[in-house]
């Protein structure tokens, strides 16, 4: 089950043609007034990001498309690249004109190497059609795109770690500021945007910002692409307007009766059934689009265990709260599973989680305790005082 109606309905290259008739500030203004926010998870306003990069001093600038898609439960960027690569490249080219960059880089995760030949073919065709290269569509715009393959590290989805990898280093996040818009790839101003963000920007140039703001909510405009998996009848990639409630979404995918829903992947929150009337939007529950449905029979400690294994494995190890904290939380989950965790120790683990949220250097360590904290808060009954009997219900 996969549906991308908005992207399907676009006229090829209409957004780029429009952008070629506009001045650089006018392109940025169109994106800014659409209210488009980053689809990679952090939700930074895209127009503002482009504006910073456009204003930054530097002869050479870069547009980087983040296709590292590694957040557990996320697979929408893969589908967008498979079905709408042209729209993504169109968006990159528009961004190139807006900020004054001549080079674009698609950072594609190593796990998606099988997409590379098809994407190279799309790029070659675009060069042939004068949609890339010098003198795009007869204008004086110059822009080209190359593909860089990731090498299997979730942390490289973090924009500064991604830039470290591009430069040939370990994917260890940098301190921010300085932000990539000022000091990015090779120290040059760089825009890092998610695949869906760039495709959405191309749609906005084509249809106008008013069309975009007519969808979604006031603070979270437009449509959003979701990756939905887990215990539901119709998992897949879906398009919904921002602001959809979890209950509505579950109905669409055949996941009614779920016990909980993980919104935002392993680094997101675990929402219990009692809160299914909440909305998915930046002002309520934000997400990069990962939705994992848990049926009544799932053991929430098994789920947490899987998430913490993931973070222990993927932490870059650069800073102590994250490197050690994730291991401590994982050990705590093992104690809970054995029914050997006191309430006092559980409270200590929660306070460790809160410390990690404040003291970690990058988003990985800042968000890895979220699932732990939300399960402890919402499923205390289920996780405390386990005996071998309570364990056997799974």
């Amino acid at each position: 089950m996969n549906t991308l109606p908005t992207f399907n309905s676009m006229t090829p290259e209409a957004g780029l043609k429009k952008a070629l008739t506009l001045s650089r500030p006018d392109i940025i203004e169109e994106v800014r007034s659409s209210g488009l926010k980053g689809r990679g998870g952090a939700g930074f306003p895209t127009g503002m990001k482009w504006n910073f990069a456009a204003a930054a001093k530097g002869e050479e600038k870069f547009i980087i498309c983040n296709a590292d898609e590694g957040e557990p439960g996320t697979f929408k960027d893969r589908l967008i690249l498979q079905e709408h690569a042209d729209l993504v490249f169109e968006g990159m080219t528009i961004a190139g004109k807006a900020v004054g960059a001549k080079e674009g880089i698609l950072f594609l995760r190593g796990e998606y190497t099988y997409l590379k030949p098809q994407l190279e073919a799309v790029l070659a065709k675009r060069r042939e059609q004068k949609l890339l290269g010098k003198g795009i569509l007869g204008s004086d715009l110059e822009f080209d795109i190359r593909i860089f393959m990731g090498a299997g590290a979730y942390i490289c989805g973090e924009e500064t770690a991604l830039i470290e990898a591009l430069e040939g280093f370990r994917g260890e996040p940098r301190n921010r500021p300085p932000f990539p818009v000022n000091t990015g790839f090779l120290g040059r101003p760089s825009v890092v945007n998610n695949v869906e963000t760039l495709a959405s920007a191309a749609c906005i140039l084509q249809k106008g910002s008013a069309w975009w703001t007519s969808k979604g909510t006031e603070k979270s405009t437009g449509i959003k692409i979701f990756s939905i998996s887990g215990d539901c009848q119709r998992p897949g990639v879906y398009e919904f307007p921002m602001g959809i409630t979890i209950a509505q979404l579950l109905k669409e995918v055949g996941g009614e009766g779920a016990k909980a829903v993980q919104v935002g992947g392993a680094s997101g929150q675990c929402i219990p059934a009692s809160q299914f009337s909440r909305a998915i939007a930046f002002e309520d529950i934000p997400t990069g689009g990962s939705i994992i449905v848990f049926g009544q029979h799932r053991d929430m400690l098994d789920v947490l265990h899987n998430f913490m294994d993931f973070f222990v494995d993927e932490s870059c190890g650069q800073c102590t709260p994250c490197r050690r904290g994730n291991v401590k939380l994982l050990e705590g989950i093992e104690l809970l599973k054995e029914g050997k965790c006191s309430m006092a120790y559980l409270k200590e683990l929660c306070s460790l989680g809160e410390t990690m949220q404040i003291a970690s250097k990058c988003g990985l360590g800042q968000s890895s305790p979220s699932a732990f904290l939300s399960v402890v808060q919402n499923f205390r009954e289920e996780i405390m005082g386990r005996t071998s009997k309570t364990l056997s219900h799974v």
């Binding site: 557990p72 190593g110 099988y114 090498a151 299997g152 430069e167």
Partner: protein, 173 residues
């Protein structure tokens, strides 16, 4: 023999350095190509790469050891990566794991003695709606069941010639 093999490798690395430019940002693409061809990036290769890029070999090692798809140790011709993240886990990745281990006679993180297969874990591969998923080198397999494991391995073995497919794969552990 050994010398010529090394000379050839050095020549290849030099050609890659020309192709990607002798700068630090060429490091990962060069290592990726060497790893893909030789299934390993040994200390000799790391030294040559370092020389070509004008950096210290330790810097090459620090990068090689950081990324899951690189790594200096030798791996098999077919690297099988099974997704272990939540959605594939809930769809039964443990049984696929058991069958892979049974049929190859190795554990995850190991390579068969004949150097043909390696078993590795992968974190979320972006196929959560069609799990359990695994990659055989770059090729994707979805909705893998324990029975399908045999088929997938046979497909690999066919590339080794007829005799290989006839081999019985009985491993009593």
């Amino acid at each position: 023999m050994l010398m010529t093999g090394r000379e050839r490798l050095a020549g290849e690395i030099q050609a890659l350095a020309e192709k990607y430019g002798k700068q630090h940002s060429a490091l990962i693409p060069i290592v990726q190509e060497i790893k893909q061809k030789y299934r390993q990036v040994d200390s000799f290769a790391m030294q040559i790469i370092a020389d070509q890029l004008g950096i210290h070999p330790v810097e090459v090692y620090s990068v090689v050891s950081f990324y899951a798809f690189l790594g200096s140790q030798a791996q098999g011709k077919y690297i099988i990566r099974l997704c272990r993240t939540i959605s594939c886990d809930m769809q039964g990745k443990d049984r696929v794991m058991r069958q892979l281990e049974n049929d190859l006679g190795i554990k995850f993180g190991e390579t068969t003695k004949d150097g043909k297969f390696s078993l590795e874990w992968a974190n979320c591969m972006g196929m959560c709606d069609q799990g359990p998923a695994l990659l055989v080198n770059e090729k994707l397999h979805t909705r893998v069941t324990p029975e399908k494991v045999h088929e997938i391995l046979e497909e690999c073995r066919r590339s080794f010639g007829v005799h290989a497919t006839e081999q019985k794969e009985v491993h009593l552990v």
